[in-house]
Symmetry: C5
Subunit: 299 residues, 5 copies
């Protein structure tokens, strides 16, 4: 009878105690991350927001039972706050570290003491963005998890860690180029589980809305050489093109991170084009000086 089962289990259970009989041995943790969707990759704040769920598994002998004693029940569910859990957390998040799951979660417990916990989370991680080749950029973002308090000698992460896309919903903006999962033990015995996500931007939207308009303005700039100097429109035309570039620079640079190390090629291109438009203005003004019909009349 489960009521008995609960009472029997919790009679001698202390959730503060690391669940291993020989306390000099580490508890082994198996971690998998099932990516569900890429919510946002924000170039300005340099953050990646993903949602998905982790599967954490470990053995807690204090929660084991003999099925034959309890009506052949082989699995039960226990509120997550009633059992020992490792303080496995996202280390490179944008916010204060929070506990996984929540107090209404149940963990699944097998009769041999195997505990399975699958917290669904939305993670906002820091991600260093390189916009140099925007909108053809590839971004590599890491989600770093760690067992915050315990060391590898206390809680070890199994190398069978995995990063799965089984339930991944395709993004309209990013292609997942590759993924990687890796477990490392740092100096001092700290374990880091690193999930790497390499993303390639789908450029269609940006070509239509940013690259194409910029190409058009660059093209228009050449029209100035067709306009006859004497018509008087030449300088007005050049000033307007200059302003249009300035507006586009503002729009494009508001989408780029204020990053002084990797300058976006597109940003440099616009600045170069602005300089050319100034040159064009200068030439227009000079030619209007020399070629003005009034000037000739005066002479």
């Amino acid at each position: 009878m489960p009521a008995n089962l609960f009472n029997d289990i919790f009679a001698n259970y202390d959730k503060r105690i690391r669940p291993i009989d020989d306390q000099s041995q580490p508890v082994t943790l198996k971690v998998s991350y099932y990516l569900n969707s890429i919510n946002e990759l924000n170039a300005i704040t340099e953050t990646l927001t993903t949602s998905g769920y982790l599967i954490l598994q470990w053995k807690d002998s204090g929660l084991a039972w003999n099925p034959s004693d309890y009506n052949n029940i082989t699995r039960t569910y226990i509120p997550q706050d009633d059992v020992w859990k490792p303080d496995f957390v996202l280390q490179n998040g944008k916010a204060k570290i929070k506990e996984l799951g929540g107090d209404f979660y149940y963990v699944s417990v097998s009769h041999n003491g195997l505990v399975t916990w699958y917290p669904y989370e939305v993670f906002t991680t820091k991600c260093s963005i390189d916009m140099t080749y925007y909108p053809y950029d590839v971004q590599s973002c890491d989600m770093k998890f760690t067992v915050w308090s315990y060391r590898a000698e206390d809680v070890n992460v199994s190398s069978k860690t995995a990063f799965r896309l089984t339930y991944f919903e395709r993004s309209h903006i990013w292609d997942v180029k590759s993924t990687n999962a890796q477990v490392s033990v740092y100096d001092g015995g700290y374990v880091i589980v690193l999930y790497r996500l390499v993303l390639q931007r789908k450029p269609a939207f940006f070509i239509l809305n940013i690259l194409f308009p910029i190409a058009l303005i660059s093209f228009i700039m050449n029209i100035v050489f067709i306009i006859p100097t004497v018509s008087g429109s030449k300088i007005g035309f050049s000033v307007t093109i200059f302003l249009t570039f300035a507006v586009f620079l503002t729009v494009v640079s508001s989408q780029l991170p204020t990053n002084s190390e990797n300058t976006a090629i597109i940003s440099t291109y616009i600045v170069v084009e602005i300089s050319f438009s100034v040159l064009m203005l200068l030439v227009s003004a000079l030619s209007s000086k020399t070629a003005a019909p009034w000037g000739r009349k005066d002479s």
Copy 2:
């Protein structure tokens, strides 16, 4: 006497135990969703925010009593945290999974043990937006719920699940075209309750404020052919039309998701019109070159 009733019920009640006598049988859950209002469908973040309440019903034999023993009381109310509840949650939300209801909620309990819980919630769900036919677009958004920890063999959802609009307040922006409710059991025994909402945008606002102004500019563009080449206004006029299109592209594309897979027809249309305005500029410049009265004077 209710005080006795409470004491009698809770004397042997453990809210951690799945409320069924034969623990090898599933608890059957009946779920209905009463949509109250559509708060927002955000095309940029691709989220749907709705409010409404769920009705969850299940039988908990541990909470049953004999009315004749207790002054013929047939229904009572118990704080939600004092009874067993399934961890029924929104699975495709934008935020971390949260428990339904709150600690101040009461569940209604009948003397036969039928528990009714109606948590009122505001759900923000992911919804893949297709703006191709904007502002004549139809969006299909799913709200996916699941019993997070338990499997179908533990907690099963009755197929009598319903999606009701009885208390729905009409939206000023969207018409509800159709709704659908569906229960499926996935591999591994996970139950998904899917509520689908198909929405059709009411286009009046967007016709007046976006389509009509764009049509006007397209029309104006043709005026350039009326303006006499020699007047000198032709090029200035063409440049201004070009800029106006650029401004409108910016306004319209700020309302569209940066979606590289389904390009909005309206967005393509504006880009095509911009290209035409550049062509127009080129023609204006060329004609001003050949037709300038000064040019003739020079010859």
Copy 3:
């Protein structure tokens, strides 16, 4: 002695039990709402944010005492979480339902068991906005409260419910035209307490900053007929007026809800004016074609 009082009261008190001796009778709740200020009426999100406090009163015989037994004490204060409270909540809020008050609140209890609870709250309620006559619009917003779990047969709301402006701080934007409080019992026994607030916008700010500039542009448009066709400024002038209208349409429509059912008259007016400015452009171009001095020279 109060310590004795506390101990005596709580010796037999169970806050989960509805506080009435005859459990087949309803507890009667008296509710008043003292509006303090209108924080914001947001036309875009269609929400009203107000702050104020509710006064809830009910009788809890379990909390009564005989003053002569306790040093003639006739009133005491008890933390709100230690007594039974109805789950009275805002039903049409923009957010998940939250409990009133907070765990640090005390309720005031009289020796006859009368409990008074005055939670101060900031409510954000949905309010359907009609901007047709903006900035001369009148908005009617409802705050709907309900006893969420209990039905009228369990917890009834007295019809002596009131909506008071005693402590109301005048708003710089809205005049309170009228208020109304009403208690209704719906099918199934659900009680709704409805507080209606009818607000009239003070138009001075909008006349100065929106209506007056629009009137000016409409007036300017007529200046085009004064400008001599031959001066060449006519078309440039018309294009600039067209752009100015487009900019104003953008500014004004960013302040209106994207509501396809009640179109603001001001929005329609601007679109009509834009159409006129296009007509004007067409006339300017045509007249410049026929009246250009160069054209005459050519002939």
Copy 4:
């Protein structure tokens, strides 16, 4: 020994009981507010955000001890949730009332039972803003505190309340002109502690970035009378000045509250200038009609 001290104190302590032997007498509370910094005074939302800490002191005879019995210890620290506290709260905040301090705070307790609590808080209070003389405006903002549940006969606030700037960090935007602290008892026995902060804006930034550019445009407007009517630039010039004013009106009014009662002088000034620029336009157009060289030629 402190362990004994704790045990002895809490053996008979009930934190729900008002800490005074004669329960018909009020507990006297001494309150001081140490302003730390002005975080923001937002004219649009009409809120003032300040940070600082309160010092609350009262006597709780239940927490007194005889130092000679406990190793001459004269002061100890107790977690704030373990003692009685008045529900002293900010009354005119923008958000729901929250408890001061937090569960990790300790209160300092002297052996005579004097309890000192210094919660550090960030307060966002409503403040009616008058922008008439912007950027030379003076704003007077009140922070109103109250003992929410208790009345003056239960918890009284000593008149020795103070508003101190000892630890105030100067603001770059506001000068503190004066401060005031005042305790009043309202009808029904409610005590209000009012801290008034009178702030004067430092105008340098706004002179450079708003007043000076507006003065420049006003000046430019007069240039139109210098431009010879026949040059054709006069109307173009006037239209451009008109647009520049419209842009500035937009920028300035986005910084002002939408307040229909106190119109900012600067806002009125811009509207008047716009009207003048329209008049100028009209004059330009009329003079161009009569003075056009072509016109003369025609005659």
Copy 5:
């Protein structure tokens, strides 16, 4: 056996008692701050957001044990809420003071009673920004921590406090020029731990996107002197340059704090340039008056 260890330790442990045998002596706290990354330095709100973790160490004799009695276990982990902790908090934050860590954190405890706590935090601190030399500015930001309730005689901070960059991820925007850590005891016995971070902006991005465009416009302004007065474009050109400066002033000043004490040189420079452009306008207008070919013809 650890279970015994826990039971033995907590049999006589009261976490409310300052962990020192002689209660007249202070507990000594050792604090180190490991900066992880600079998330944002916001000039408008004058806040610095950093993430990193603190290491706090103190001795709690009540948690000591003899390893030989417990299977030679020398270190254990205890949930942070089960032990005494100093209320060490960030004092100059932008938000209400919050406790470090969280209830799911474990502290590491050595058999000699040494407690180590490493809470990972995201701190948003006030930082007075001086933009005078922007974008070549150097900012000095302080993070001030304090033991909120206890005084130096109760909890003292060791002078061996450190500010480490061992795990610092380089910022794309800021160079860390220097850091400093300092412990001071203020009047009244309050201990302040100050971590100073001196940051130098990397100017490359701002040179390309702000300084260079401004330099270009300044240069363009001189082109007006090349344009022949008679061409009629001179005034149009000058007005356009004037508007471009006004737009740039708006863009640049939206990035600067509204600080009336330290005016940014770049802001003053733009205002000076605007004044020059007005002067230029005036000169253009005057010269057009005197030099207009029509004028000559008239004479």
